[in-house]
């Protein structure tokens, strides 16, 4: 770039036209939203790799353990997570409508559902550990990799839920104090919906295939 161009640019900046020098955001999205979408795509690759790896390991062993005898735990967990996605959506809608109190209420309710999901999940883990399941061995026979794959996949998801719980609390607190706006609530919401969608793949692979013939 020639000196004349730089000078001209500097002149524009001085005259209050600096916005013309700033590159526009890709896809006309706010930077926060674009960042969370990029994170979601990258995170989807991580989950996909883990689930596909689980699929291959499971496929390789005809005597894969089948420790789940009912859906009494996983069905309520799925219902809670799906419902939390709806309450999060209501929170985002309320935030954009300028209804601060309603937005805070909905997002906090979502965080409560997240905590409930995590508690149910941890209770299930303790139940399996109580039966003798560890990362390297299982009490039901068959592949000893069952514990590692089960705790690996569900643990990664649980980590996302717990992280989401704290993120929702933090964003709500900042939004309530006026430091954050509706965009921040929406960004947190996108992350939360993603956590919900991943569960839709975890459930059939980790739990429901247990009941196949």
């Amino acid at each position: 770039m020639s000196e004349a161009h730089i000078m001209a640019g500097h002149q524009m900046h001085v005259e209050g036209h600096s916005s013309e020098l700033v590159e526009q955001s890709p896809f006309a999205l706010p930077s926060k939203k674009l960042a969370i979408w990029l994170f979601i795509i990258a995170d989807a690759a991580t989950f996909a790799a883990m689930l596909v790896a689980y699929g291959f390991i499971r496929n390789a062993d005809p005597h894969w353990p089948r420790p789940f005898h009912s859906i009494a735990n996983v069905a309520p967990m799925t219902f809670i997570l799906l419902t939390s996605s709806l309450t999060m959506l209501f929170g985002v809608q309320a935030a954009y409508a300028g209804k601060k109190k309603a937005a805070v209420g909905w997002v906090l309710f979502t965080a409560l559902l997240a905590a409930l999901f995590a508690l149910l999940h941890i209770r299930e883990w303790f139940g399996l550990i109580g039966e003798g399941l560890t990362m390297s061995k299982n009490p039901w026979g068959g592949s000893q990799l069952f514990g590692a794959t089960f705790f690996g996949v569900t643990g990664l998801h649980l980590l996302h839920v717990i992280g989401g719980f704290f993120a929702l609390l933090y964003v709500t607190m900042r939004y309530n104090s006026g430091h954050y706006n509706a965009n921040h609530i929406e960004t947190a919401g996108l992350y939360w919906h993603f956590v919900d969608l991943v569960w839709m793949f975890v459930v059939p692979l980790m739990y429901l295939l247990n009941f196949s013939r």
């Binding site: 896809f27 006309a28 999205l29 979408w37 795509i41 989807a44 690759a45 996909a48 790799a49 596909v52 790896a53 699929g55 291959f56 496929n59 390789a60 859906i71 069905a75 799925t78 219902f79 799906l82 419902t83 996605s85 709806l86 959506l89 209501f90 809608q93 409508a97 996108l190 919906h193 993603f194 919900d196 969608l197 839709m200 793949f201 459930v203 059939p204 692979l205 429901l208 295939l209 247990n210 009941f211 196949s212 013939r213």
Partner: protein, 100 residues
């Protein structure tokens, strides 16, 4: 509440019911005496539909610019393609000991 917001809330509830119905279908399918392969294929199709509904309507991808929708679709395709090839496991699964 404005008419647009009412409509938005209505669509959200309808989509939530659709997602619940698909999840319920998955749970019913679990007890339908299918083989592992049959169940896996059916459940992954249902999970894919659930994910598509969630991404389009809950994550509002539907309302974004077309170029961005294309960008996300290409990203998903790239991830799916990576899963097909990254371990070379399909070849090993289908030809077993002949390949080793």
């Amino acid at each position: 509440m404005k008419a647009g917001q009412m409509r938005g809330t209505g669509i959200s509830i309808v989509m939530y019911v659709v997602l619940l119905a698909i999840a319920a279908l998955q749970f019913l399918m679990a007890f339908s005496n299918l083989t592992t392969h049959q169940m896996l294929v059916r459940m992954m199709i249902l999970a894919g539909i659930e994910a598509a509904v969630g991404v389009l309507f809950f994550m509002h991808l539907w309302t974004e610019k077309r170029t961005f929708i294309l960008f996300v679709l290409i990203g998903i395709f790239a991830i799916a393609a990576m899963q097909y090839g990254w371990t070379d496991s399909f070849r090993l699964v289908y030809c077993g000991e002949k390949c080793s």
